[in-house]
Symmetry: C2
Subunit: 162 residues, 2 copies
């Protein structure tokens, strides 16, 4: 089985798949509330209106996965984006995506509270929590239509170390 | 100046103003990702479509306020809901709301990672972070129209202890 190298999560590297959600790379920042608060504005394209969709705010509580971890399938949501933001800055997790289900996947290690937003239709592996039970805030789409496709990878990939 | 007592933040007490965002009181919970993750589903009504609005995901970085703290004004967003979720379970903050700008406000202490979603049009004080610089994920409305009204309270209120 081929091993997949784990890359750091950066805006540039993740751009084909969506946005990294973090203050440091916000395009627009401005003070509010009499200057006591900074607003890091509009950090992801929440794209959920297709086919009569609406935004859903949910919480995912994920069991940690153990390495080595075998990647066997990907999924995508053809009708909407899906954002994940860890609810503790100490949580680390893996983000696995692919430009097409037939392409080799790429794996990114998210640290320091960074979130991600998969753009609509982005092939991705279900989120891989590490270390401990991990809570994420999730913003995705509710509404009519089949919004989940799954596909087995042409070959399995192994993540053996990060 | 009159003092305002601080109440614990519970779903029932906060119901006139919006939703408490937490796993413990989710109406719908189901397993996903092969049983490795629990989805606490649809925890708040994200109500941002009015007048051509769209959901915005932003990050607010708030300086902590110091008690005693004087409440002098409220604001509301007539075109959309606004959700705040702390990005660290250790953050405590105060949520001050009122059924009308002419009514006495109520103050709630949010702890243990609980978030809140102000329903559209709910009068509220700008968020009052405590203890330290505090990051919140915010989901509110972008789009045309004037979505912020401010109003001075008929009398100032003091929060002197929590």
């Amino acid at each position: 089985m081929r091993s997949l190298a784990v890359e750091p999560l950066t805006c540039a590297a993740f751009a084909p798949f969506g946005h990294v959600i973090e203050a440091a790379t916000a395009r627009t920042v401005y003070p509010i509330n009499g200057g006591t608060t900074q607003r890091f504005h509009d950090l992801a394209d929440i794209d959920v209106a297709e086919g009569g969709g609406r935004p859903l705010l949910s919480l995912f509580r994920a069991q940690p996965r153990v390495l080595p971890f075998t990647l066997e399938l990907l999924e995508r949501h053809p009708l909407g984006s899906q954002a994940f933001v860890p609810l503790d800055p100490g949580l680390r997790y893996l983000v696995v995506v692919a430009e097409a289900a037939t392409q080799p996947p790429r794996a990114f290690l998210a640290t320091n509270g960074r979130g991600i937003n998969y753009r609509r239709g982005c092939w991705h592996h279900p989120l891989i929590a590490l270390d401990r039970i991990s809570d994420f805030l999730v913003i995705d789409r509710g509404g009519p239509g089949d919004n989940c496709e799954e596909r087995r990878l042409d070959q399995a990939w192994l993540i053996d170390t990060i």
